[in-house]
Amino acid sequence: MSAYIAKRLLAAIPVLFGLTIIVFLIMAMIPGDPATAILGSYATPENVEKLNRDLGLDKPLFQQYFIWLTNLFHGDLGRSYTLNRPVLDEVLERFSATLILAGTALVLCSVLGLVAGVVSAVRQFSWVDKTITLVVLIGISVPSFWLGLLLILVFAVDLGWFPASGMYAIYGGGGPLDLLHHLFLPALTLAVVATGVIARLTRTAMLEVLRQDYIRTARAKGVTENRVIYRHAFKAALVTVIPVIGIQAGFVLGGAVYIETVFQWPGIGSMLVKAISTRDLLLVQGGVLVVAAAYVLFNLAADVLQTVLDPRLR
Amino acid sequence: MADAALLSIEKAERVFGGGRNLFGRARPAVHAVQDVSIEVRRGETLGIVGESGCGKSTLARMIVGLDAPTAGRIVFDGRDLVAEAGRDLRRLSREVQYVFQDPVASLNPRKTIRTILEAPLIHLLGLDKQARAARLSELMDAVNLAPEFLDRYPHEFSGGQAQRIGIARALAADPKLIVLDEPVSALDVSVQAQVLNILDGLKHKFGLTYVFISHDLSVVESVSDRVAVMYFGRIVEVGPGRSVFRHPRHPYTHLLLQSAPAPGRRSLVSDDATAELPDPYNPPPGCAFHARCPRGTDLCNARLPRLEAVSGDESHQAACFHPHERR
């Protein structure tokens, strides 16, 4: 088992390298003079020249990549010209906020999705199943950024139960309770779509598994129906659902871009949107790289978990 | 020569896996077929029997050019079959055809029977529309199916009918040799006979040569002139059907015959659990059957027995140091 995990970790290294290549190439594809593009149109000629030298932009592409990669290993992702601070500092600070939001949403959607899917499958064709199916369908059809706005209107403006934006109260905030209070609406909004996807898939997986020969065997040996469903069938269904939760992590991380914008959550998503509209490309590059790397690691964890459950994959 | 070999397989070998990975470490390799040499004479039916994993299907796929041996030669009608299959499979397919085990899976569910049967007529023979229509009705007639079936889809057919369509397709290009890979084992017993009888009739009518592969001893016995028994990738016994089934020499053949259920016979076999094949990634140095063999000695474990004539009869060979005596 540990040998397998080590092997998977090793296999993740080329993927991470691949990520750096893609991110680098995307930035290299920017039309026009990169230095001007990076520094913005108001850059002074001295700054442009300095950046060109720093980035080695006078050298061939692969050399540029290695210079960039070496800098990356030293934790140097360049400086954001709009914020005038190192990209890495800004990105890490923002990323922790995103991690709180996306992590909460992911836990929410996994738990809610699995429960809804199992209940729906076990009570197939009942009104519970039909209700869940419809709610799930609404969940995956609703634009999350619009849902966020509605929730703000209802729960923040009209009812005043939750704050409309931010991560902490401006005055006297900062405690974990304050964080939870601010977290509730955005995390819920972010979780809605993924919950729908997971619930649907869990339902189908459960129904498929319940038709398998080994479920009949379990019944034939006198195992109680609860045990058949929650032990035999659920475990087998989980094996197909886990990779999807891994993929949903990507949707949640990406969806954070909208939710952070709507709720003005100081995360990496809202930073990216701002950076793109101000063409602060080094900031975009750093942000994309860090989020993608986190996603790769998360999927790795999902893979390992799946292997723990399914001995055939070892 | 009257009994000239139509097909001759010389020391054929097929290894799956193997090679080295990126870091130069050897990948695990499985010898699916090893050191198989056998001839098929014009007009005969060669039966190949063996249990799952013995390599019989791999051998079959190599004969029709769907797979290539990793070593050894296969000669068809004096030509190098392997080279030809790699260069121009169509030329080979005009003369060597295949009937698949699962009749339903071997028909494309989204094509009519007409489209399926026309494919070889267009691609292999290049017939025009009129000639195709004539040939189609000949083919349907040959396998005893009504021509109105031509415009139906495969899911509308029973297993036996589907297998007859599979046979018609194999016949379409008028081949010399047909490899039949478990052609009746997916069928109900009442239908098996229909298909076997049709195959028998076609053989005489068109002067075909068959390689008939099956795990079912009684079926092989009823159709074959000569029989080869395979175990763990090798031929362990080969000879005229009557001789092999009446006087099996190899202990494995003996065990197979004892194990086969027959109406009116109580089981002769013990309930021991020693039916395991050796680990294919780590085969024993000697005879693969040694672990299960009641006649095995240290010699069998140390060295590989060669396939050779037993008691002077050149046509009946077995790969065993301690063969059964002729009863």
Partner: protein, 649 residues
């Protein structure tokens, strides 16, 4: 082998007679939600298409004096936005843009993704590795993030957003299609096409593509909603449509800034996106339900824990036959699909005594498995149901007892051994876990004691190193070993009856012989009755004392094994014996049975075999033929049986 299908109790599937499109459309319209989706979607699309013809104000003309009218204002049905533009007009024109962008992105992604998937799946090997590594690389980015990065490079704009969304969706199609294409390319019909002389390109596009097409359509119908959402999302962030052009997303984005003062400006376009996407998803689900073969075959219906029992007449007190542990009388089991009733088992009597082995022989579709599985309620409901008869286990009617009682009896008094030991063992639990569970389901005992008992059981079925084997997973064992584990499991408690459904069919002959010998020995040692289902008279000879031959849901002949083999009385039995080659008699002529068995939803009044029977006369077809006594301990359902003197052979 004859029973290739492992899912026991598999009902006869209704044959799909016409496979044309009108049928599919009708199916789609039968689905109310999908029809509603179709209607809403059609309405939205038609309105959007008709935008130039409708009497709408110019969507881009600003009128600062008319700012922020509420909905239902005069001249502005949905009000105006912050620049005084008519929201209704902008909504319809914006829907046009959103639809066009979403659909174009879907088409682009579907085309390139499917092409990559098809080629990768079909070619396999290095091409596959190379293409899929590339796809994996793209998928290593969180979806929206990659779209953002692409827009960052290309610059904000509607067309760029379209490209970005299309590109990030390519992997989704590629992966899906590749999986299907890979599976199809290994199918025998691809080999057959190759041997028919087709080239790779011909095989890929003529043979494989038509089979992949439904999947492409399903994937498109389930992703087009997504793509509309995502492009709207990019526009919402200000990275898609640029002013003055507007799509639904950018309208929503503009409205957000004045959310608190004029919520309608953002709520209306959001509602439109929701309605559009919801209608597409409803429709997409409908399309998927129609095209997905799993739904047609009922593979996605949850079977109940026990077969439903709906008996028209409650049977009175029936005395069990003396000496019988299991006594089944007049068992009828049906499957219902839509309005059609398939009478899989039409009145069957079975009696098994202690230590006795009764064989049920029949071809696939004869109902032998359904009959056996009905006894302990293991026929899936829906669509199966027990429609009549009683099953007495030592006097107790199994069709009348509670679910909990059935659970207690399953695996203790009556246990089962199934056909394919790989699919019947749970792949994710060790052999030990599964054995111990079987033991503890009937007797509460500490785990250590149950483990000891499991070791004893494996010893009993002669598995070497039992303590070690307990830690193995099913896939680590050979077929023969797995079936031994299943037999051990059947003996976990004090079984009096074992129902064995083709237990050796999936095994090699040498292994089959050993497993049969094991079963035979165990039943003698432990005095267990066996109900043995098979299609093979050879196997019957090896183990069964008595045999019942089944045809079209009924027994046509019963009696002692030796006698029936020696002198079959029913023409079907005789034919069934004659059509199989027998080892040692290669010259024997094989006598095929012409025709096909009747479909059990349309059985004839008289003898079901009459159509195929050489001895059939008019009276055979006139009325139901009863099972009548035919000598000592024998019965035959035939009014013109083959008599002993005529003999057989």
């Amino acid at each position: 082998m004859a029973e290739a299908n492992t899912a026991t109790g598999n009902p006869p599937r209704p044959v799909n007679r016409s496979s044309g499109r009108p049928d599919n459309l009708r199916l789609l319209l039968n689905n109310k939600l999908a029809t509603a989706g179709l209607a809403i979607f059609a309405l939205i699309v038609l309105t959007a298409l008709a935008a130039p013809l409708l009497p709408l104000p110019d969507p881009d003309v600003t009128a600062p004096a008319d700012r922020l009218f509420r909905p239902l204002s005069e001249g502005h049905l949905l009000g105006t936005d912050a620049l005084g533009r008519d929201i209704l007009s902008r909504l319809i024109w914006g829907t046009r843009v959103s639809l066009a962008v979403g659909i174009s992105a879907t088409l682009i992604a579907a085309f390139f993704g499917s092409l990559i998937g098809l080629v990768a799946g079909y070619a396999g090997g290095r091409v596959d590795t190379f293409l899929m590594r590339g796809i994996d690389m793209v998928m290593a980015f969180p979806y929206i993030l990659l779209a953002l990065a692409i827009v960052a490079v290309l610059g904000p704009g509607l067309l760029n957003a379209l490209y970005a969304i299309a590109v990030v969706n390519i992997p989704f199609f590629a992966r899906n299609i590749r999986g299907i294409a890979l599976g199809l390319s290994r199918r025998e019909f691809v080999d057959a096409a190759r041997l028919s002389g087709e080239s790779n390109a011909q095989i890929l596009f003529i043979e494989v593509l038509p089979n992949v097409l439904p999947v492409i359509i399903i994937t498109m119908s389930t992703t087009v909603g997504w793509m509309i959402l995502e492009t709207a999302g990019l526009s919402f962030l200000g990275l898609g449509a640029q002013p003055p052009q507007a799509d639904l997303g950018s309208m929503l984005g503009d409205g957000r800034k004045i959310l608190f003062t004029a919520p309608h400006v953002s709520i209306i376009p959001g509602l439109m996106i929701f309605a559009l996407v919801m209608s597409i998803n409803l429709l997409g689900d409908g399309v998927r339900d129609v095209l997905d073969p799993r739904l047609k075959s009922g593979a996605l219906t949850r079977p109940l824990a026990r077969t439903a029992v709906i008996r028209d007449i409650a049977p009175g007190d029936i005395e069990p036959s003396p000496g019988a542990v299991l006594d089944v009388r007049g068992l009828k089991t049906e499957f219902r699909f839509g309005g059609e009733v398939f009478k899989a088992v039409g009145g069957v009597d079975m009696r098994v005594g202690r230590g006795e082995c009764l064989g049920i022989v029949g071809e696939s579709g004869s109902g032998k498995t359904v009959a056996a599985m009905s006894i302990m309620g293991l026929v899936p409901t829906p669509p199966g149901r027990i429609a009549g008869g009683v099953a007495l286990l030592e006097g107790e009617d199994l069709f009348a007892v509670s679910d909990e009682r059935i659970r207690q009896l399953r695996g203790s008094a009556v246990s089962h051994v199934f056909q394919d030991p790989l699919s019947t063992l749970h792949p994710l639990f060790t052999v030990g876990d599964q054995l111990i569970e079987a033991i503890q389901s009937h007797r509460s005992m500490p785990k250590s004691r149950a483990t000891e008992r499991a070791v004893e059981l494996l010893n009993l079925v002669r598995i070497p190193n039992p303590a070690e084997r307990l830690k193995s997973y099913p896939h680590e064992l050979s077929g023969g070993m797995r079936q031994r584990v299943c037999i051990a499991m059947a003996l976990a408690d004090d079984a009096r009856i074992i129902i064995a459904d083709e237990p050796t069919t999936a095994l090699d002959v040498t292994v089959q012989a050993q497993v049969l010998a094991l079963l035979d020995k165990l039943r003698r040692e432990r005095d267990v009755g066996i109900l043995f289902i098979t299609h093979d008279f050879g196997v019957v000879s090896a183990i069964c004392d008595r045999v019942a031959v089944m045809y079209a849901g009924q027994f046509v002949e019963t009696g002692a094994t030796g006698e029936i083999l020696k002198s079959p009385a029913h023409p079907y039995t005789a034919k069934l014996i004659d059509c199989v080659p027998v080892l040692g008699q290669p010259e024997r002529r094989l006598d095929a049975i012409e025709g096909r068995p009747p479909v059990v939803n349309n059985l004839p009044i008289g003898c079901a075999f009459a159509e195929r029977c050489p001895r059939a006369q008019d009276d055979c077809r006139a009325a139901p033929i009863p099972l009548t006594e035919f000598g000592q301990g024998r019965a035959v359902r035939c009014i013109h049986p083959i008599l002993m003197e005529a003999g057989h052979g």
